[in-house]
Symmetry: C2
Amino acid sequence: MPKIAPLSGFPEWLPAGRLVEQAVLDILRRTFELHGFVGIQTRAVEPLTQLLRKGDTSKEVYVLSRLQEQGEAPADAGAPSRRSSDKQLGLHFDLTVPLARYVLENAGQLPFPFKRYQIQQVWRGERPQDGRFREFTQADIDVIGDGSLPFHFEVEAPLVMAAAFEELRGLGVPPVRISVNNRKVAEGFYRGLGLDDVEGVLRNLDKLDKIGAEQVAAALVTECGATDEQAAACLALAAINGDDLTVIDRVRHLAAANHIPGAGLLEEGLAELATLLQEAVRRAPGVIVADLKIARGLDYYTGTVYETTLLGHESLGSICSGGRYDALATDGRRTFPGVGLSIGVSRLVSRLLSAELVRPTREVPTCVLVAVTSEETRGASTEVAAALRARGIPTDVAPQAAKFGKQIQFAARRGIPFVWFPGDDGPASPDQVKDIRSGVQVEADPASWTPGAEDLLPTVAPAVP
Amino acid sequence: MPKIAPLSGFPEWLPAGRLVEQAVLDILRRTFELHGFVGIQTRAVEPLTQLLRKGDTSKEVYVLSRLQEQGEAPADAGAPSRRSSDKQLGLHFDLTVPLARYVLENAGQLPFPFKRYQIQQVWRGERPQDGRFREFTQADIDVIGDGSLPFHFEVEAPLVMAAAFEELRGLGVPPVRISVNNRKVAEGFYRGLGLDDVEGVLRNLDKLDKIGAEQVAAALVTECGATDEQAAACLALAAINGDDLTVIDRVRHLAAANHIPGAGLLEEGLAELATLLQEAVRRAPGVIVADLKIARGLDYYTGTVYETTLLGHESLGSICSGGRYDALATDGRRTFPGVGLSIGVSRLVSRLLSAELVRPTREVPTCVLVAVTSEETRGASTEVAAALRARGIPTDVAPQAAKFGKQIQFAARRGIPFVWFPGDDGPASPDQVKDIRSGVQVEADPASWTPGAEDLLPTVAPAVP
């Protein structure tokens, strides 16, 4: 047997941890479905040609080969070969590339706007570190339009995530802040200043938290051809944030002070941002804030962009990001715009577990352990179990007819709240059930006894500090 | 945009198909948890060294490499290199190899007997054909002991699966037959006959359905050194099947006729098989049958083995298989025996969909579509939606303030049963909700209106022929 060791970057949870993850996933699924999103799953692999179209992340692709083909020489990049990138498959590194392909492949059979959620593993061959994994679970929602997609979905999408995080608080997940910005504001402002390398400016501003204002300003001058004044204006814009409409006014004032005309793309973006803030204040007060420094690395966003911080755990980075893109996919004739957000479930769960923020009430689904008096009467115990299960009560039967004390210990070690003792047939010795936490033992009938609702299934609750 | 086409062997479902798959998975999860199994997930990858230990299936492993490493020369098999099989990772081809590794890695922290279920994708680079995929979902249950594992778990495990299939019938899944055999019976019988190449005999008998009795007999003679009489006895054993204890008597008679002593391994196996049949008749009548020709290809089974046929769809092959193994894993000091079964979920769902055996009541989770009178009053519609969602009713808001007829059509195309029309504020024009199937429209208050239980969520039901 070879040495057994965890693989760095490939997290796995013990049963109690999986219970927490499952509770998180159940809440996400329920929230997404409550909002009319339909679940899909896509295959884990995509042709390498598809995966390589998405900039930086592409470098982290895991490529697949079949063991039988291992001896074959690797193909030249351009050569027509079974291993050329056409035929080569890689593991998807996000759920957006597969969605784009799925939408194109099934466009004729999908109802648009297509609201889908998708909860799956993704793989990235990057260097593992705290909160960064090589295999992790994402939970995505996207709304995809056919040809056009109204702006109001840019308001809906983050509010769905806000609703999900609100539900997650019941488990012990800390509150979040969803920071929003609008690409049109940024682009309109930079272009109004006279800076045309919008992508370059965004890329540098994205480093603000890492390298600080001074270094960003210097880079804007040397890399993007900005004057000191233009760089200062970009940084002044990035410094604006808040959750009410004064944000809009402050941007307008800054634009005016820099002689940027009050119409066009900038104004269009400000109107969208204002609408989003107004709705957010009404429907999820305190959760969504405008933060004009949010840039998002990816160049395909064209409207609102989102990042989410777990309050008190800012070092974790964004746990839910996304944005509006005018062209998720196109087949030349039809173009599919979309807006979506993606929760980093593994990153979130990993922190919930490592910081001990949550606590499952027990480590197994079992609510009742039916004791076994002797191996000869195991049949009586399995019948009790069958009767309880038929009424939806998760039940297990003791693995061995050990002394009752040992069977109770077996339940206690797993957090199973009840132990059931089958009686002999007849009224002289009825069944009894013991709540092993309180020690209270009562007569019970498997056809009617019911545990308290809070004991039926394991639940996850905030850990008491 | 490169050509978009499905990948053979990597099935994906449209939203309605995923709804069916999700309904199947929900039932499996609920059944497993009712029986005290705890859910785990393991990483998708294992070191190649682990994967290559399991005979034939190993040939089908997908090996991973990072794109950056693609230029590097492939390592010689034995050379110490970053790409030697030590460090190389492959995608798991079943959930048993990962379970064995997980148990060894976490033995100190798991409660034994460890009852776990696991529902995940697996990958096999084999040639795709009907019901055989390169990526598919398995749903496994296993009970793992530490050092020993009582026989009664070999009775429990198939009964859990029988309970799951019983629940699945509500969706429209045809009934199943779980065929069982016992390796001890087979081995005891062959050895009693004087045939010591037990593995060889089993391997040949496994081909019975494919190549017929005559060819198997010939192979037993030429490959396993059997006489014609020994070969005939093996085939006579394989011909025995049935769901009651006469099966046991027929094996005993056959053994006696072939001068096989009535004690030892054969008798031990028969006693186990008899116990299993007795319990099965009592707890899942008609589902579990003994079939002495069931061999199961894998050599690590040591007790009961299982195969499951979907009645009326026998050509699909087994959709739920497994068995008892005395050494799932060992670290040299401790040995972990187990018993488990694995459902081929993708194989099952693929047939349910292609044969149109099941029918979802609608294609989206949405129960109510709230109409939008004008974009200016969209806020009123989102408030109705919020009120309904707060009461657990999946609700969507019309994407556009189109004519009401068009909004109703939007709902009808998705199978959404209700359309909600917000009134003006005030008692003059209250909200109304229309059941678009019956056309009945009534006044309604979002704080109290409740749909029928059968309409709340989409359900999956047998397709009416």
